[in-house]
Amino acid sequence: MAGDLVSTLADLKEKEALGIVQDRLSAGDDPLSILDDARRALEIVGKRFADSEYFIPDLVYSGEILKGITDMVKPKLAKAAEVKRLGKVVMGTVAGDIHDIGKDIVVFMLDVSGYEVYDLGVDVPAQKFVEKIKESGAPIVGLSGFLALAFDSMKETVEAIKAAGLRDKVKVMIGGGQMSEEIRKYTGADAYGKDAMAGVTLAQKWVGAK
């Protein structure tokens, strides 16, 4: 039964997936286990995306199906059993750069993987990152940038976080375009991710380590 929802959702069969959820809810199945299956399915979607099997519209579609599922499940959730979030992440494309598609994919993957993501958008000044970190208390920061010129903005953002006295309270990951260990060192970030899945893996590592 449970395998059904995981594979159906991973194959992006919207009607069937929603049907299975309906059946399981009627059968009195635990809503939290349904959400857990959905999350596992989305992990498969993420892997298929990383392998070029799925593409951006497929990700968006899987998100839409997931929303349909959570809308059905939510009313059945006991008030106390709000969906548990794994952790908070502040994300944005750094100042001077307005590329958002890569950043949006990471936001999506983190979101479906159970993180609460504060998406600051594109062309985000360093100070805005600092303010959001203070306000949210998020322990993870993701800096996205496609242009080589964005490396300087990433460096400036990390320095601004340091200047605000927050550097040892957050882990910083960078991604987008041509990332490498050299660039990570230059920017002063803690890690770089080569794709959206790598971003999720980093977040899991950092949250687990806390």
Binding site: D51, S52, E53, Y54, F55, I56, P57, D58, V60, A95, G96, D97, I98, H99, D100, I101, D104, V122, D123, L147, A148, L149
Partner: protein
């Protein structure tokens, strides 16, 4: 015997044929790229041309094997076997052209009343004497006034430096070249008054030598932009430049030197001197424009993407290092925005969209694709980051349009038919072939509308964990690695074509136009000229309109630069357009993201409010 003039169409290039020179040899010397695999032996039959007028040598023994008697009657010949016996006009069909030349210079010729910014005036000066020791330059200005009622107050300093020697060696007889109220050069009588139009592309530079008195193109040639070693696309070029210690100086010189060589070659074809070039026009994208002038480019690549200067400029050629007439000016067409440059202005000028009834969509496809919508005298423009995929970049077996590139492709049942440039054995696939492949794979249902390769075809394989479609197998290439289209390639192409479609859609929405209202879609640029429009429509890169509404305009930027070269009214028009254009930043347009995601899908559809509506 005097040399015959040969007119090569449709490139519109004319030149003298030397004694005992075949049409092929003449074409090569003039830079008309006629394909020849056998090297002029008459055996490969790739240099077919059609003589439209004039007389030529009799067919050699090879030629009746190639052509029917009817074709011979219609003037079809092999260029390598044919020698002119009078002035000739001939057509070089596309299949006989080598791609590098045809993508660089060809464009639709528009005739315009010549109204050049410079004029040459014949002068006969009185030699000075002890009783009339007036200075040489003053004597010249006085003669202009007396003989031509012209009040000139200035002489260019570089012209001044050689003027005394010139006047004496020409025995006080000369032509004064005047621009506004300034003498910019002296020329002997007789001489040409040439203009140089340059389309300064990121990848290629096309140059045209034009007779300023009648606007005719006398010679054309294209070369690679040597700045390419600093980065292939605009962003990486800018990044490469700003990392240099002396930001841009060597890069500026590279472009100038390439243009100097190009103009020397063009002049050599006519037996002219580069000092007879008395005016130049350069049209390039904003980054190429800035790098050519030695202007800073850093701010161009960062949001909000502001150019150092947008308005049209007149710069002394000597200040830039261009070797043409000593005091000549280079006119730079105006830019529109950081990512929409003078080349797009030139294209709008050349395609005459501004005079037409709208709505018209005009686009120049490249790594950056600029799209304009012209409607009721309003012009709105976007720039789309379409990426290098259509130039063969980021594609596993992609390559530029050069010999051996698959440029056309059909899939019929299990067989694949393709055509390579130069009819050479296939070595890779270039932009037009890549587009054909995407469309044909989709139409043959080998990829679904989401772009996924389906495992239902004998040519679909999995290689290193990724599906790919084999275009030319290892066996078909005698053991060399297969040429394939991978799943990742298809993803790159989907992003590229979605960017273009999104640009068009955003413009339509911003102007409250529907797709069906578009009267014409003009596609300019090298890639745009050679694509199969039906295939571009089939994958949803272009709106689903009747094919007769599409027009492929060739190198319109080069044509626009030529118009600006010979006509002051066209310059005024360019400045007016550039200041009238409403630039829209694509990423900040409403519905941008939804539209982009929908446009990734393959197929024929309309996009309405970010939703896709399929068209049967």
């Amino acid at each position: 015997m005097t040399a015959f003039t040969i007119d090569f169409e449709p490139v519109g290039l004319r030149g003298k044929c030397r004694r005992n020179e075949s049409l092929l040899a003449c074409a090569r010397r003039l830079g008309v790229g006629i394909s020849s695999i056998c090297g002029g032996q008459g055996t490969c039959h790739s240099c077919k041309v059609q003589i439209l007028s004039g007389t030529v040598s009799k067919p050699t023994s090879n030629e009746p094997e190639v052509f029917t008697s009817q074709e011979l009657k219609e003037g079809w010949r092999l260029a390598c076997q044919t020698y002119p016996t009078s002035d000739c006009k001939l057509t070089v069909p596309p299949e006989s052209m080598t791609t590098p030349q045809r993508v660089q210079v060809e464009g639709l010729e528009i005739t315009v009343h010549p109204e050049p910014p410079v004029q040459a005036y014949r002068l006969q000066l009185a030699a000075p004497s002890l009783s009339a020791p007036r200075a040489d330059a003053d004597r010249l200005l006085q003669a202009l006034n007396q003989q031509h009622q012209l009040h000139c107050g200035k002489v260019d300093i570089n012209a001044l430096r050689i003027l005394s020697d010139q006047l004496r060696s020409w025995n006080w007889e000369c032509q004064a070249v005047v621009r506004n109220d300034e003498v910019i050069a002296l020329l002997p009588r007789p001489s040409h008054q040439l203009g140089l139009a340059i389309d300064l592309g990121t990848t290629k530079i096309a140059g045209y030598l034009v007779d300023l008195s009648n606007g005719r193109t006398l010679a054309a040639k294209g070369v690679m932009n040597p700045q390419i070693s600093y980065g292939e696309d605009i962003i990486s070029r800018i990044t490469g430049v700003i990392q240099l210690p002396d930001e841009g100086v060597p890069v500026q010189k590279l472009a100038v030197e390439a243009i100097n060589e190009l103009s020397a070659d063009l002049c050599a074809e006519l037996g002219a001197n580069t000092e007879e070039i008395v005016e130049a026009v350069v049209a390039g994208n904003t980054a190429m424009h800035h790098l050519f002038l030695g202007l800073p480019v850093r701010q161009l690549a960062l949001s909000p993407f502001v150019p150092a200067v947008s308005r049209a400029l007149d710069v002394k050629a000597g200040d830039l290092g261009l070797r043409i007439a000593p005091g000549a000016y280079v006119y730079l067409l105006p830019n529109i925005a950081g990512f929409v440059g003078a080349d797009h202005v030139a294209m709008l000028l050349a395609t005459e969209v501004l005079q037409a009834e709208g709505p018209i969509v005009a686009l120049d496809i490249g790594t950056n694709t600029e799209v304009s919508l012209v409607n009721k005298e309003e012009v709105a423009t976007v720039s789309c980051a379409s990426g290098p995929a259509f130039e063969g970049g980021h594609i596993k077996n992609g390559m530029r349009a050069a010999t051996g590139a698959i440029e056309r492709l059909r899939i019929a049942d299990d067989s694949i038919q393709y055509q390579t440039i130069g009819e050479a054995p296939p070595v890779g696939i270039c932009g037009s072939g890549i587009l054909d492949a995407l469309s044909q794979l989709y139409l043959a249902r080998i990829i679904d509308e989401g772009g996924r390769i389906v495992e239902n075809h004998p040519r679909v394989h999995t290689y290193k964990g990724q599906r790919e479609f084999v275009l030319v197998s290892k066996e078909e290439r005698d053991g060399q690695p297969a040429i394939t289209i991978t799943q990742q390639d298809i993803r790159e192409l989907q992003l590229a074509k979605a960017a273009i479609r999104t640009g068009i859609q955003v413009l339509l929405e911003a102007n409250g136009c529907s797709e069906d209202e578009i009267k014409q879609v003009i596609i300019a640029g090298a890639f745009g000229t050679y694509i199969d429009v039906a295939n571009a429509v089939a994958i949803g890169m272009l709106p689903s309109l009747p094919l007769n509404r599409f027009r492929q305009a060739g190198n319109a930027a080069g044509m626009g630069a030529k118009l600006a070269l010979i006509s002051l009214s066209k310059r005024a028009e360019a400045q007016a357009v550039a200041s009238r254009v409403k630039y829209i930043e694509l990423a900040s347009a409403p519905n941008f993201e939804q539209t982009f995601i929908q446009a990734i899908y393959l197929g024929r559809y309309r996009i309405i409010d970010g939703r896709r509506e399929e068209i049967d």
